[in-house]
């Protein structure tokens, strides 16, 4: 990473904005942190899930006789037994509450299975190996039913039904956008239409999911250690599915080795492992294996998109029909992602006539799971692709066509056709910085020279707008969060926050904010996250929310504690409170810098000499505050549109590729991303997140895809068949920063961490099409694996002949 061009220091000493070292980084590097599987209480039993080997089948019987007799086996539970002991798992986002269809989600399939890999039974044994051996001995007798594996096929009237009781396979359908699109397209000088396909991919964190449930039969309490993102939601879900009072459940989030949405709650194993522990009265652990982890799907969508524009490149209207393949339904929020593909269109372009029709369709594949980008990625792949197609049709430079259509910085906040209210941004500024970093004109010249030598260099640009920190009314997708800041008698500070970290480092960012707002050294602060018995009610990690609302609420709470410190110190120093500064643990008089008192001394004074020093000041050095950012508006406008996002980060990608037309291999030559997430609390952590998101986007653009056989079994279930990017596949990823503070958050920061995927996908796809433009190709599918690139070339050859 090159150094950022601009970092706005916030505050006098700039702890906010500093590249502070990651909290706990030394423990991570030396292998001392404990992930879920490192928690091994005495007497822990191990669970293995028996899964369906049929895409769609009626379960005729489950024979566990042999399995129960095997060494170490403590319990075998099937779906019928589990259904007597537990209820349905509540949805994180209930499709029925949004006008869609639902089915009851159970921790184990009861009578019917609807995808290969669906949990059917569970085996608990003394060791994992014993449980695996016994699980292999469980016999499922079933009658196959017709299945459908493709969403477009699933929409046909005669398609097999994933859920027998439904009239069709549509989970959710909705129209988005306002404006007269027919008139806009009729008025256009040029209209282009493409059908674009995004393959099913997955998140593949280093650490898969895992849960350790410990039921204490003596006091009837349940403690669940979990590699998860949303501990409070999990507590609620387990309370509902197990019929337990929430006060009897404690969720402890362990150190998490990557989440990317995968570890949001609603997975059947959460209820299942807790139930198994309840039945056995002993701790039961389940750690997902890598093949199970690969079942989590994301992003599989088909977009038929049309835009019309004037001769000079101004886009007048957009029409898009989206078919999203959600697989089988799950209580996890993944099914809702395509909703954001629709809402995020037309991105940061001023196109007021949009007609976007979304259909979320069930198939007999594993469930869609929340994945970084949360559907917004698809909007960018599609929009940036069609903008390039339009530019080519008009003979315009792709940079220029974007510039002509961007919402201007002076138009902010800007209400889009789909109802989003973009808080702030400078999109032409992003373009200028990216073009400068690429040395665009020189690069175009280099491209011409390369072509003369028979080499195929391509340049791809892609803009990305990332709505972040979502609020879904009536769901546990919350746009606020809560933090307690508590100072002890020695002046050390505990921060208890409702947001959790997936490993990205928001605990470090929150500590920086508290250090600055409270005026204490960062080393005196300990941030505790993810423990429902310790932390205030919160919502965990998703939607780039952790620094906006976790950091924002921490700032408000820290300011309260600071005010108390100042009030007491003023008594101790006999000065006016307004005369006092607090910085790095010292309270200092502005007018007489020699007049000082350490914060620790103020704390011990208040807490041990309250009646002597400050009888009228309540001796509490603690505050709990929630931060509700501005710009969220759930009152539907005259078109029924709501505005669920406070902040909109933006970025502009530039990719340079070389394509080998003999093999179809795409080589990344250079990569630039100009990124604007408003104020950066910690640029290193922002860059780390953005780098990861770009690489996830590049992988899904070039090599990653989940492949199923005709019977619905996953074939790409190892890292040798699901190809993630490695360092050797990547050029140096260059990052340039632009800072356009949000007017709606405490520090002007916007969500960071999701931006990068759709832009990277689109930039690469645009670059490949640009490289192969002499052949007249159109890129319509990702990933652009070498065989796919040759297919694209063949397609162009057929068209031109």
């Amino acid at each position: 990473m090159s150094a950022p061009t601009t970092v706005r220091p916030a505050g006098p000493d700039g702890i906010i904005g500093r590249r502070s070292r990651k909290v706990g980084g030394d423990e991570l590097l030396t292998g001392r942190v404990r992930y879920l599987d490192d928690h091994r209480p005495t007497g822990t039993l191990h669970a293995v899930v028996v899964r369906s080997d049929q895409a769609h089948a009626r379960i005729d019987g489950i024979d566990a006789t042999a399995a129960r007799a095997m060494p170490g086996v403590q319990l075998v539970l099937d779906g019928r037994q589990a259904a007597e002991l537990s209820g349905p798992i509540p949805y994180f986002i209930d499709p029925a509450a949004r006008g869609g269809r639902r089915v009851d989600i159970r921790c184990l399939a009861v009578d019917t299975t609807v995808f290969v890999g669906q949990p059917v039974a569970a085996v608990v044994a003394t060791t994992r190996a014993e449980a695996e051996a016994a699980a292999a001995a469980v016999r499922i007798r079933s009658t196959p039913l017709p299945h459908v594996l493709d969403a477009v096929e699933a929409l046909r009237p005669d398609a097999p039904r994933v859920y027998d009781e439904w009239p069709d396979n549509v989970v959710f359908a909705k129209k988005y956008g306002i404006g007269d699109v027919d008139a806009a397209l009729a008025a256009a000088d040029v209209v282009v239409t493409e059908e674009l396909h995004i393959a099913r991919t997955t998140t593949a964190p280093m650490e898969p999911r895992g849960y350790l449930a410990s039921w204490d039969p003596a006091d009837e309490t349940l403690t669940v250690h979990a590699a998860c993102q949303n501990p409070h939601q999990m507590r609620w879900m387990l309370s509902a599915s197990l019929g337990l009072d929430e006060t009897r459940i404690r969720i402890v989030t362990t150190t998490v080795g990557g989440s990317f949405g995968l570890k949001m709650q609603g997975h059947p194993e959460e209820t299942l492992i807790a139930l198994l522990s309840q039945q056995l009265g002993r701790p039961v652990k389940w750690v997902e294996d890598r093949r199970e982890c690969f079942m989590a799907g994301a992003r599989e969508q088909v977009h038929r998109i049309t835009v019309g524009a004037t001769r000079d490149g101004r886009i007048l209207g957009l029409r898009n029909a989206i078919v999203a393949d959600t697989g089988a339904l799950s209580a996890q929020p993944g099914w809702a992602m395509p909703n954001m593909s629709a809402t995020t269109l037309p991105s940061g372009y001023a196109v007021q006539a949009c007609d976007i029709q979304l259909q979320v369709v069930a198939t007999n594949k594993p469930s869609l799971n929340a994945a970084r980008g949360f559907g917004k990625d698809a909007a960018h792949f599609v929009m940036e692709r069609i903008v390039d197609v339009l530019a080519r049709r008009l003979g315009m430079d792709p940079a220029e066509i974007r510039r002509r259509n961007f919402v201007g910085p002076d138009e902010m906040p800007y209400r889009t056709s789909t109802g989003l209210n973009i808080d702030s941004g400078d999109f032409p500024g992003l373009l200028d910085k990216t073009l400068a970093a690429l040395d665009y004109d020189a690069l175009r010249e280099r491209q011409r020279q390369a072509r003369d030598q028979g080499r195929h260099l391509g340049i791809g640009l892609a803009f990305e707008l990332t709505p972040e920190s979502s609020d879904g009314p009536g769901t546990f997708v919350s746009g606020f969060d809560t933090t307690t800041v508590r100072m002890s008698v020695t002046g050390s500070v505990t921060v208890l926050t409702g947001v959790t970290t997936p490993g990205g480092g928001n605990d470090t960012g929150i500590a920086q904010i508290v250090a600055q707002e409270l005026g204490v050294p960062i080393g005196t602060i300990r941030v505790i996250q993810g423990d429902t018995d310790q932390c205030p009610n919160g919502f965990g990690n998703f939607s780039g929310r952790s620094m906006v609302v976790g950091g924002g609420s921490a700032a408000l709470a820290a300011r309260d504690v600071r005010a108390k410190i100042v009030a007491v110190a003023a008594r101790m120093l006999s000065v006016d409170p307004d005369d006092l500064d607090v910085d790095e643990g010292i309270v200092t008089s502005r007018t007489d810098p020699a007049t000082t008192v350490p914060v620790a001394e103020v704390a011990i004074t208040l807490l041990t000499r309250a009646f002597a020093i400050a009888k009228d000041i309540e001796p509490v050095l603690e505050s709990t505050r929630a931060f509700m950012p501005g710009n969220i508006d759930h009152t539907p406008d005259e078109h029924g549109r709501i505005q669920p996002y406070p902040t909109y980060s933006s970025c502009l990608h530039g990719a340079v590729v070389e394509v080998d037309p003999d093999t179809g291999k795409v080589t990344l030559v250079d990569y630039v991303m100009t990124h604007d997430c408003g104020t950066m609390i910690n640029p290193s952590l922002v860059e780390g997140q953005a780098t990861g998101a770009i690489v996830m986007g590049l992988g899904t653009a070039l090599s990653e895809q989940l492949v199923f056989d005709d019977d619905g079994a996953l074939l790409s279930d190892r890292f040798k068949s699901y190809l993630l990017m490695r360092a050797g596949d990547l050029p140096e990823l260059r990052m340039v920063h632009q800072v356009t503070p949000s007017p709606f958050t405490v520090h002007g920061n916007k969500g960071a961490g999701e931006a990068g995927i759709g832009g990277a996908q689109a930039a690469v796809a645009n670059a490949v099409e640009d490289a192969l433009s002499p052949f007249g190709v159109t890129v319509r599918r990702i990933p652009l694996t070498p065989p796919e690139v040759l297919r694209v070339l063949d397609e162009a050859a057929v068209v031109s002949s």
Binding site: E132, A133, A136, A137, R291, D662, T663, G664, K665, L702, S703, V707, L715, S716, R718, F719, K720, S721, L723, L724, M725, R726, A727, G728, D729, T785, P786, P787, L790
Partner: protein, 291 residues
Amino acid sequence: MTGTPTYAAPTGIAEATALLTQAQDPAVLSGGTMLVPEMSHRTRRPDLVLDLRNARLSGVRVEADTLTIGAATTYRQVLDTTLPGGGAALAVLQTVARGITGGPQIRNRGTVGGSAAWANPSSDVPGLLVGLDATIRVDGAGGHRLIAAQDWVTGAFRTARAPAEILTGITAPTRPRHRFGYVKFKLAESSWPIVTATCLASPVGNVVLSVGGAFERPLRLSLAGVPADLPERELRTLLAEQIAAADPTPWTDVLADGAYRARISPVIAARAVQQALAKDPNSGEEPWTSN
């Protein structure tokens, strides 16, 4: 079989082959980079795991223009070999070892013999051995057999080795005056090889090459007197004709289908030939030293 397999790490071949003869479904363990994951995934359930670690089968030797590679020689050991006189054969073997995907762990564990015995069409070694005109030795209770590399792989994941035999060693002519080319095509860094091509060119341009990855069995091709300046398109055409004439069985897996592999085979093969021929035979250097 459902129980825990017996594990044995015998110190000699006679003891090892005796154990294999007694087992129902034995697995020979070399580096374990394939067998251990298969066993973890319960897709392979042997009753005996016969570990070659103590059988003294590792190491590389050169004797009288013959390169000998012990069956349990790791890629790391290949790379650490500094023997003189290994010729083009050792140089190309080291090129292959350097490009083994999976990082130091795999190069430290994975073995040349193990890969030959696994016979994954999408891997480097089976094709390499054909290109080297290597000979493979297997030992069984009744003695040993020598098998030409071309006859070694009988199909995808199948070899001429009988279940009670052990691959004990590989020999190949060193080819001290030959030049070589080795081209491996992968979809991405983490991918199995999709197509590999090994080329050995004699000082007068007689070329032997093998194509791996594309077909169930590696393909051996030869061209006589190829001029170094033969245009790539012509070379490709020549190779494509030879490949078509051999009518090999295409290999399809989740990464790429047989049609794709077959289509790019002449491209990759031609690149290997050009790489070999581009090395100047009159430079005064050992012809195989540069790559």
